[in-house]
Symmetry: C2
Subunit: 293 residues, 2 copies
């Protein structure tokens, strides 16, 4: 595995690998670092599907809003390099902010509609920052496949929309959420949690699991009932402060009206949550397939 | 030369040509068709610099505003194919609106600042349409070089900014304005002009030529004086209705303050005009190099 920091070096390395085998495919795993087993699963998926696995590690300032955690976002380069190598990365790209933004960018890639609800509503401008940096990374790496975790389901939907609309020559591969044994979805931000918050945060996965089960067994039927049950279960944790609880079709992400029967939808239905524990904002979600899975 | 209408066909054709010679470079000449000698000069420039010359012909609806001439924009496919072949094109890409926009796009590429003045001020949203479609064409064709005429100087500046900010792996090649013998800059829109308008439209190139000469000989010195002289000369044509007359640095396109001495700038200075003759809006411009050419 090689670690490179400049765009020129990265292009040169990829060029050499492609020269050795013109048909070699490239897989990109874009990350913000502080790698956990969720990221490792993306890298392993890339290793299975593609010949050259590139992992990018970049905490992208333009996707953080004022007062968000850009400055304090956890970073550990040495550990990340070891984790990327162990999972099978061939190249790790660790650009500085100056490398990615030598001047403040005047150009943005912006997706509408899919970005208007959920995290897009709570974090204005966030997804413009995400699509802009992912577009840049796609141009730098020119991957055949790019791997994203479904924990950020809206991010997957937004990136898919961007790829479709702008004819990027890349296939997006969404990968399943990886969880701790007790159900907590892996996130680099979990390190922010106090032991008490960590325990109470289990309510996220539990609320999703129990609500999905209630839908599948016919105990509840509509989006409104699901939202109510999720809200009620999350409310059992006194430290939980709900940012949003939303039921939407996927990947369009239009919120379902309260009276809509979840299992009668043609498309998958996403139940998505963002909840704060102290200063830490966590997200989790699950998909319900049409007519049950 | 081959003409293709779908993205899949185009990618297949380019793939075959690249397979025959992996090091072949690709040149893209994006056009809206109704090709004239200005376009032909771009195609010839591409032929000199690159191995595979792709000409796209697409009247892009999303760069036209309400009340603009999308519907009536001149089209002549048979003549265009002959002109592209004569100039040396290898592939002509003629997508339908449905091919480029199978659904209304939710994604836009938007450049700020460089788009705020000149045509950007007169045609709100125009450049978002341009950068979005050029981004799409770059993704579809994956050119090494792309060729644009300097008649749309702001378009060149905007595309260069997009390429820089988003790390597109393409080099933009700006090509000189091509003019009729009497000075009129070639434009597909010139066919709209009545004989009388056609004659009076010569005032555009004449005003630029005379003002540049006045700057170079020291007769006038400042941006304010240049603007005044341009406005005065254009005013000699009774049919001319000025949209804008602007003096700006290039490629940033910040307008120069009236008292700024043109020849004392570090960068090139652009004198740019948009003027209406009847329903036809024409643009023209010239660059003045620092300390004279």
């Amino acid at each position: 595995m090689k670690a490179v920091r400049t765009i020129a070096e990265l292009r040169e390395q990829i060029g050499e690998m492609k020269a050795a085998s013109a048909k070699a495919t490239i897989g990109l795993v874009p990350t913000m670092g502080y790698l956990h087993q969720g990221h490792a699963s993306l890298i392993r998926a890339a290793k299975v599907k593609t010949d050259i696995v590139v992992v990018s590690i970049f905490v992208n300032p333009i996707q953080f809003g004022p007062g968000e955690d850009f400055e304090t976002y956890p970073r550990d380069e040495a550990r990340d390099l070891a984790a990327a190598e162990a999972a099978g990365a061939d190249l790790v790209f660790l650009p500085s902010v100056d490398t990615m933004y030598p001047k403040p960018t005047k150009t943005k890639i912006a997706v509408s509609e899919v970005t208007s609800g959920l995290c897009g509503a709570s974090r204005p401008g966030h997804f413009d920052g995400v699509t802009t940096v992912v577009g840049k990374l796609f141009h730098i790496v020119q991957p055949d496949y790019a791997f994203f975790g479904m924990k950020d389901a809206q991010q997957v939907a937004v990136i898919e929309q961007m790829v479709y609309d702008l004819n990027f020559n890349v296939t997006i591969v969404p990968c399943p959420i990886i969880r701790e044994e007790d159900g907590l979805a892996l996130s680099s931000r979990n390190v922010y949690l106090s032991p008490e918050e960590r325990t109470q945060a289990l309510v996220l996965s539990r609320s999703l699991r129990e609500t999905k089960e209630a839908v599948k067994t016919g105990q509840i039927r509509t989006a409104g009932e699901a939202k109510e049950l999720l809200t009620q279960i999350i409310g059992e944790s006194p430290l939980a402060v709900i940012d949003y609880v939303e039921i939407a079709n996927f990947p369009e992400l239009s919120p379902l009206a309260a009276e809509t029967a979840i299992l009668e939808q043609e498309e998958s239905v996403l139940m998505a949550l963002a909840v704060k524990f102290g200063k830490t904002r966590l997200i989790d979600n699950c998909l319900i397939q049409p007519k049950g899975e």
